[in-house]
């Protein structure tokens, strides 16, 4: 099915809502065309194209809610979806926390669509793979990579007259290059909104250089070190901290932002004053949808941490009503303010330290302190007197992003990183941090 435009989407939403006999009706509609190419051992392993369009109808009778979805769009199918949603709603128990649909909104669109990215075709994808594979072959290295791009649209509507339509595009690429003997491994990635600003060769070259430089890694004793974490090494660590900003969790006493004796730590200075984090759907480098699809509320530019102070918490509509606060839309991005220095400049100003390309298998050990464990991977180096001296063996770490953001020496220029296991687009700088806690060595290359 072709991607729908605003008028076609509106017509379908209106038709669905007209069919509903429930007290209220919410509709979301989304479609995408997603292409990908995957390669390993210097050969393409899979390539594919997935097209899908899906309609979700959610209706409520009082506080009983039901949901149904369908991916057929003739009149009979639309009616079937509405009746199914109504059937489920009648069977569901009342939810005391049910919140009625919100009223009409004026969404200020964000720039999430790029025509260059939408024009990506199979040849473009094959060329991305070829750039990495050919460069790796030339250097007698072995490349494995994944490129994916998506073009689509998102629509929300409800029976109070709310309607929003926005087109989206994205692209994401990463590759790992290893030496033939498996003693060296390098990784690099790139996310971009504009395919014209994406350079597969440059990304591939970084991974190749890291692979070549990482051979013959030496063991460094585990312990606390000054580290320079590249943005991709930090995003999954810091991204996991934001769950604790949920006001309900904090108020209920089960977040690192819960206060001893009750309440939360909004307004407290918990981080180094260099820490400034905000969400902004209109950010030019990391734009996201102008609304949060679950609540259908418009997103706002919101300070999350300002000069190290916790400056906002996330309030669901239910919790906001209960606590007498204003509800917030779920954030789609996190912008972490950086400095002006490049990664190379951060290295140049470091007497002794460890450069980390990437972190891996990060898991929460203790949500009380946001203690996370994980490992370094695909390019870990020892820095001495402002230069990369030699590769070092990978480490396991046990560290909390709250502690990390209190131990900042310097921040570099922020860069776009797409979330892997965290649900945000992030602008995040390379960070030079003190006393990062490496707890054991890993033999993995």
């Amino acid at each position: 099915m072709k991607l729908l435009n605003q008028e076609e989407s509106k017509r379908i939403c209106d038709k669905v809502m007209a069919l509903s006999h429930a007290d209220e009706c919410r509709v979301s509609l989304s479609g995408s065309r997603t292409g990908n190419i995957r390669y390993a051992r210097n050969s393409v392993s899979t390539a594919g194209l997935v097209e899908n369009t899906q309609l979700t109808v959610s209706v409520a009778f009082g506080k009983r809610q039901g949901t149904a979805s369908i991916n057929e769009f003739d009149d009979a199918s639309l009616e079937k979806a509405v009746r199914r949603a109504e059937d489920v709603a009648r069977l569901a128990p009342e939810n005391p926390e049910f919140m009625p649909a919100i009223g009409k909104q004026d969404f200020k669109g964000s720039n999430t669509y790029n025509a260059n990215t939408a024009a990506i075709d199979p040849d473009f994808r094959a060329d991305v793979a070829a750039q990495g594979i050919n460069a790796a072959r030339k250097n007698k290295l072995v490349a494995a990579g994944f490129f994916t791009d998506s073009t689509g649209f998102e629509v929300i509507a409800n029976s109070n007259g709310l309607f929003g339509y926005q087109q989206q595009t994205s692209l994401d690429f990463s590759l790992t290059v290893r030496t033939e003997d498996g003693r060296g491994s390098g990784w690099s990635s790139s996310a971009a909104y504009d395919a014209k600003r994406f350079d597969a060769r440059a990304v591939s070259d970084i991974a190749i250089e890291k692979a070549l430089r990482s051979v013959d890694a030496k063991a460094l004793e585990p312990g606390r070190y000054t580290v320079i974490l590249e943005p991709a090494a930090t995003s999954e660590l810091i991204g996991r901290m934001f769950g604790g900003f949920d006001a309900r969790r904090a108020d209920e006493g089960r977040s690192f932002l819960s206060k001893k004796g009750g309440g939360n730590r909004l307004g407290e200075k918990l981080f180094d004053e260099q820490v400034n984090i905000w969400a902004d759907p209109w950010d030019k480098d990391a734009p996201v949808l102008a609304w949060d699809a679950q609540s259908m509320m418009p997103r706002q530019r919101t300070d999350v941490v300002k000069n190290g102070v916790v400056s906002s918490l996330d309030y669901s509509r239910f919790w906001a009503q209960k606590q007498g606060k204003e509800a917030t839309a779920r954030h789609g991005n996190m912008i972490i303010a950086g400095g002006t220095k490049s990664l190379e400049e951060l290295i140049a100003s470091t007497k002794k330290g460890v450069l980390v390309t990437r972190t891996w298998y990060i898991r929460m050990v203790d949500p009380q302190s946001v203690l996370l464990t994980g490992l370094t991977r695909d390019g870990t180096f020892y820095i001495e007197d402002g230069k990369i001296k030699h590769p070092i063996k990978n480490f396991r770490f046990n560290e909390s992003p709250v502690a990390m953001l209190n131990n900042i020496d310097e921040l570099g220029r922020s860069q776009l990183i797409s979330g892997d296991e965290v649900p945000y687009q992030m602008m995040i700088p390379p960070m030079k941090l003190r006393d990062f806690n490496f707890t054991s060595l890993s033999d993995a290359v």
Binding site: V50, N71, P93, A144, T176, R363, V365, S369, L441, A444
Partner: protein, 529 residues
């Protein structure tokens, strides 16, 4: 945990009518013919209908009930020696034939970057066959009201026992999978699984401390009879520290224990770091097996196909070829299978039409084999695939996924209580906690749900802040005893992630309670701001 949200919600009464086999065969033949005509030397077609129902509760409220359905067709071909794949949700002959032709075109494009042609190990066509997960109670026919009441009763039991907050969920899966290939197979399978995780949170507002305790259930490849718990399903933990389950699950009883033990954790003794002999219950050990043996013996990882994301493996071909690589102590016998009844991996055929089997991965501590698909079998000199191919949707391309990987029970009669009697300084660990392992499966760190001190052969008080860090080979060589078959039971992972784009699969791991000597335990307590 990954929760698939892709799919269409459906009314329960419509779940029970599968697509007619004749319709699926005709659609499959259309794709096979179109692919062959377009130049494919091989083609397989997977017609899938994936039904899920998720029920989510929080304290005494049902938060959500979601029925999803996803149907469509995936066509994989080999043309010019390379793979091509295309999928469509339009179940018409024209759309399926188009998908087949597009798959061939993609294969031809991929062939340009291919060094050597794909070699598939032979499979003899089985004609038209059918298989279904054995069950006595279909989750699709159990009223939503009964499920909601069970979950709310569990939450109430946890709250009454000391929890500040409770959450319980019910995941139910039915995969109706039809496979056809140019080898002459038409395989119709109906697969059922379910899982009910529960979590209690206890908060001490005065100290600002909170702790959680997750349920000790295992997901199962069976029907709703899983919840009709009988006395034979109950297993007493060593020292009677808690109730465990095998082949059935008393959600409400376990939720009550969750509430009580989450509260108990708030004042439990913080562990002294150091070397301990660990006694690991199957509810915990399954995940250590999964991460340090299951993933490490996937041949696609060993060869480098997952290098960019999931990683490679330390269990390299030279170690296997030497026939001497001591993965573990002589007690360690690891088998792979897709045949154990009630397991998450149990099917009759994989997603390449290969019949399920059972084989050794580690015998008397020595690495003896891997997990392979048809295109990998020749690399390790196997004449046929072991049936490890799986795709999580009609729209995903199938690739190598882990079968059940289990530790065989010890041959000598030994109960967990008898095992504990010999331990001077140890920790008894139960349940699945935090888990992390490096990309070649050497260095890992695991936590659990419940920890008990063992001193001079006796189980003592509850401990907290425990995690153990080890190296896979050292750890399995430190295995000194395994309880006998009476204690053997399965744990499992319902949403195991792998691949790019990521796919989830479900897999079980059986073991008996096992002992590992001299393992490094760290204390995970930290203070912030």
């Amino acid at each position: 945990m990954l929760i698939p949200v892709f799919g269409n919600a459906i009314a329960a009464e419509e779940l029970l009518n599968p697509m007619a086999v004749a319709f699926k065969k005709s659609l499959a033949d259309t794709a096979l013919n179109a692919a062959t005509k377009a130049g494919a030397t091989y083609c397989d077609v997977r017609i899938g209908r994936y039904l899920n129902q998720f029920v989510t509760t929080r304290d005494l409220n049902v938060e959500n009930i979601v029925n999803t359905e996803s149907s469509g067709v995936g066509v994989r071909v080999i043309a010019n020696g390379a793979y091509g794949f295309c999928s469509t949700n339009l179940m018409t002959p024209d759309a399926v034939a188009d998908a087949a032709r597009q798959a061939v075109a993609i294969a031809r494009a991929n062939a340009k970057l291919q060094d050597a042609p794909i070699q598939l190990a032979p499979v003899k066509g089985v004609g038209e066959v059918a298989w279904a997960t054995p069950f006595t109670k279909d989750w699709r026919t159990v009223p939503i009201k009964d499920k909601a009441e069970m979950l709310i009763a569990a939450n109430k039991a946890g709250l009454d026992a000391g929890a500040s907050f409770m959450q319980s969920l019910l995941f139910q899966v039915n995969q109706q999978k039809y496979f056809a290939s140019t080898d002459g197979s038409y395989i119709d399978q109906d697969i059922h699984r379910l899982w009910s995780p529960v979590t209690a949170t206890a908060v001490d507002k005065a100290s600002g401390k909170f702790r959680t305790r997750d349920g000790l259930s295992s997901p199962a490849g069976m029907g709703y009879e899983f919840f009709d718990v009988k006395p034979e399903h109950k297993v007493r933990a060593a020292g009677g520290v808690t109730q465990l389950y095998k082949g059935g699950y008393d959600l409400i009883e376990d939720a009550r224990a969750c509430g009580r033990q989450a509260r108990e954790k708030l004042t439990a003794k913080s562990v002294e770091p150091g070397k301990y002999d660990l006694v690991l219950s199957p509810e915990h050990l399954f995940l250590t097996i999964h991460e340090s043996i299951g993933h490490a013996t996937e041949l696609d990882r060993v060869l480098g196909y997952e290098a960019n994301y999931a990683g490679t493996s330390f269990a390299t071909l030279d170690k296997w070829e030497s026939k001497k690589f001591k993965y573990g102590s002589e007690h360690v016998n690891i088998v792979a299978d897709k045949t154990t009844p009630g397991s998450l991996g149990c099917v009759a055929y994989d997603d390449e039409g290969v019949a399920s089997k059972r084989w050794d991965l580690i015998r008397n501590g020595i690495l003896v084999n891997y997990q392979v698909t048809r295109d990998q079998a020749h690399i390790i000199g196997e004449k046929e695939s072991q049936g490890c191919s799986f795709a999580d949707s009609w729209s995903s391309v199938q690739f190598q996924r882990m079968p059940n990987v289990s530790l065989e029970a010890g041959k000598k009669q030994l109960t967990p209580d008898e095992m504990v009697k010999d331990v001077k300084k140890g920790i008894y660990i139960l349940g699945r906690g935090s888990y992390s392992i490096d990309q070649q499966r050497y260095n890992f760190q695991f936590g659990g749900q419940l920890y008990y001190e063992i001193k001079n052969g006796k189980i003592g008080p509850m401990l907290e802040d425990v995690a153990y860090q080890s190296n896979t080979q050292e750890f399995w060589n430190a295995c000194t005893a395994i309880c006998d078959q009476r204690d053997w039971r399965m744990g499992g992972s319902f949403f195991d992630g792998k691949g790019q784009p990521p796919q989830v699969s479900a897999v079980s791991h059986g073991s008996s309670t096992s002992r590992f000597n001299g393992i490094n335990v760290i204390n995970t307590a930290r203070k912030i701001g």
